[in-house]
Subunit: 500 residues, 2 copies
């Protein structure tokens, strides 16, 4: 019987399977014994197969068809869930099963060859797999396409509902111009801060103590989370009451773990505060990447680079790290803390240069799918753009086109979410400043008003509301990159003592 309950039961099974996969994934990256990978591959393949069956099998298909044809059995919640489940189904269900399986196998191989190519520092080893993946995606795009304008629009929409090349072209153009202008002013008119104190030794235990305490002041709940060590930090949410964060440590670069933990705790905050009514349907209502990233970046940049925040927090950090920074004044600390410098590696970039890394990738992906640029030409394209936008000469593939795993995973159209996250964070911040006095809140030590605003306007909705709608409802405006450019101009004008 095609009832709402039958749909919810089916989705609950999918949610439980995704929860198990999340546990397995977290474990594999935080301390699973080194030799156990081959056994774990069997477990993960089993889970993927079961999930595929539940999410796209005949039972789900019949439910979707029957309930779409006659919605009288569904209340509002049921209709929302049906729409989300249909969307979830379309991504894989519209592809012939054989092609889907071949594609997954190609992705799995591609990741191995990406790793090999990195080891050999030679893009040509990876190139045939990029070509294969792109060929598959070009074959799938017409199956996925509904009313999007260009092939690349179809991919963008899978990660960010409602996003288009037309919108991004305009936004990224504004952003690129603004960033390059500010960087030019800093170079020609600014005084570069001294950041040497940032490499003073701070033990892992002390870094952990401070960063977790501050993250908890921002609302991250350790009764619904934990912090583990890993190589490439991430947050993994099994459910609302189990949103685990991870970090890496460098005793001579405490900024990395402190901001990294703020960042992941921002993701964790989101997951911990999704409304409980979505518990059993999480699997078909993933939170969109851009809005998720807006919350990690809110923690990392809007809070973690804010002068008012550090005015309150620096003495607390000094006390935990004492006596290491007793001789560093607040001004010296803060200016060094937000020092900006172009890097070849995206994940090491500071907030000001980060969007340029994304714009480069966006322009290359657009060229691949909309202009059919050959894959062999991508390394040169990459080098040219890094020279032009960041003024950096890319010396090799490892620090160039081989740095990200995303393409090996088939994730074309994903990178823009990272930049949107920055822009959303700043736009939320600008709205919050109309009703919240951040200086007073930070000085009080009780950050609850910030927590409550974010929970009410953003987190509680989980993946139920599209990011563009959340932004509009919360800020009364569509995406506007000027908020972010204003934040950046303010931050760096102070730290680099630009003339007013």
């Amino acid at each position: 019987m095609a009832t709402q309950q039958a749909l919810l039961d089916s989705i609950k099974e999918q949610t439980i399977l995704s929860e198990i996969s999340a546990l397995s994934g977290w474990d594999a990256l935080t301390g699973m014994p080194k030799d156990a990978g081959h056994f774990r591959a069997d477990v993960d393949a089993y889970l993927a197969e079961k999930t595929f069956q539940v999410a796209t099998g005949p039972q789900r298909q019949q439910l979707l068809e029957a309930l779409s044809a006659d919605k009288s059995a569904l209340d509002d919640f049921g209709q929302l869930v049906l729409a989300k489940a249909q969307k979830d189904f379309d991504v894989t269900g519209k592809i012939p099963e054989k092609d889907y399986i071949d594609f997954q196998r190609t992705l799995s191989e591609a990741q191995d060859y990406w790793a090999q190519a990195r080891e050999a520092n030679d893009y040509t080893i990876f190139q045939p797999y990029v070509e294969k993946i792109i060929a598959y995606l070009k074959q799938f795009i017409p199956l996925w396409q509904t009313d999007e304008a260009t092939p690349y629009d179809v991919l963008l929409n899978q990660y960010e509902p409602g996003l288009s090349v037309a919108k991004l072209d305009a936004v990224f153009d504004e952003l690129k111009t603004g960033i390059m202008a500010l960087r030019h002013r800093l170079e020609t008119l600014g005084t570069e801060p001294d950041g040497t104190f940032l490499s003073r030794q701070v033990s892992k235990d002390k870094q952990r103590e401070y960063a977790l305490a501050a993250s908890q002041r921002l609302g991250y709940d350790m009764n619904k989370g934990r912090l583990d060590d890993t190589i490439h930090p991430f947050m993994e949410a099994l459910n609302r009451d189990d949103a685990r964060i991870t970090t890496r440590w460098d005793e001579h670069n405490f900024q990395m773990a402190v901001l990294g933990i703020f960042h992941e705790a921002g993701h964790g905050l989101f997951e911990q505060n999704v409304a409980s009514k979505y518990d059993a349907v999480r699997a078909v209502m993933p939170i969109s990447m851009s809005i998720h990233e807006s919350q990690s970046l809110f923690n990392e940049v809007m809070v973690g680079r804010s002068k008012a925040f550090w005015q309150a927090e620096y003495p607390k950090m000094q006390a935990v790290f004492a006596p290491t920074f007793d001789d560093i004044s607040f001004e010296t600390f803060y200016n060094g803390w937000i020092k900006t410098e172009a890097t070849l590696i995206r994940t090491e970039a500071d907030p000001l240069t980060y969007p340029l890394h994304i714009i480069i990738r966006y322009e290359i992906e657009k060229a691949i799918f909309n202009d059919n640029v050959p894959v062999a030409e991508l390394p040169q394209l990459w080098r040219d753009k890094y020279q032009e936008y960041l003024g950096l000469t890319v010396p090799d593939d490892l620090t160039g086109i081989l740095q990200d795993i995303h393409w090996a995973g088939g994730s074309f159209g994903y990178f823009p979410s990272y930049a949107l996250g920055h822009l959303y964070a700043a736009q939320f911040m600008a709205t919050m400043q109309k009703t919240l006095d951040f200086e007073q809140i930070y000085a009080s030590g009780d950050y609850t008003p910030i927590f409550e605003w974010r929970k009410q306007h953003i987190w509680q909705h989980g993946g139920a509301v599209d990011p563009g709608d959340i932004l509009m409802a919360a800020t009364g405006e569509g995406l506007n990159p000027q908020y972010w450019l204003t934040v950046m101009n303010d931050l760096y004008a102070t730290a680099y003592q630009l003339p007013k």
Copy 2:
């Protein structure tokens, strides 16, 4: 089609499900966020249901029936697997599904009421659930019974194939007499060692460093394992390449974690060294408890209480803990290390008194199932036996009959495995001493010969060979408690300076 491959595929699915359950169980006891229990309960219920379907559902039933009727499709391995799968099926498959589900629910409730009874220190809260569980088991026993002599024999056989009340009565009688005689000699003729140094402070990090290094010298492979903190220590093996151990710490009782880690690493050694041919059929070939315990206890007692071992290891431990024990001579250390004292709590017992705790539980369980002793009389029975065998007055239920969770879990017939583990360990040791020079091996620092013997004679067989057969093949003899009594007499005669 009822082929060998179809059977193996079905069992592989069961094995993967059990691997996932093991990961979930390990995670829940080592650091899952405090608030996540209710979500995890859903996951575990789902896994239990899937496992039940795979292990006892129509497909498995048809395979078992068809392959049992015509074994021509099976090679030797297939026949072994069929027999094990049939045995696995019989434990649950012979019970009507409704009764099985009701029983599981009763067990789940019983564990809550056991915890409540412990909190109130009042057995009568738990008593109705013990009665229910016993009633269920008495109802199931005739369904399980094949040729066992008494009802309690049926339960014993589920944990230890081939075990009987007749055998255990004889063995435990010999054991009880021997232990009580030795304890009497120690009390009247011995000099009690000074163990005060055992409470000197040793940091958790140093305890961990030493205990893991020694465990690795004994062969525990950290590339196939890890060590985590927990409340009630255990080893959890997801598979041969992922056998995780856990411990608890007390900075003023380093002996607890050192011997605890040796113990769990002994379990881990077993799992890490099962032959790879059993990888996919683990779920129907669990290693029997007694033989498993013999290997943890071999590490903890036969190695971890041995004078020759500590002659080689004490300087290594002193170096890691330096300077804390620089003033403690080897003789003082060793005698204090094996000091014996009766305790009310089984899990805190030393090797000499431990079997008496088991014998008490054995006698009570036998009285319940074979003599129908009323459940209301058990606390008095418990108190009488602790007085008689250990000379201890039990002050309350918490330190008496409510101390173990086993009955709340329906595990009647399980306790004897612990005592058998002690006896097996000593019997293996006696055989090994015929060909291995332990003093020379320990002095050399290379413990490989001990590792190799255990792997060849015990570990590689996993759960494929019954414990009695492993014992017979390895030692050329059936179970003989005199080996264990000899070890104990030797250990304590030295430490307590008994007259020769």
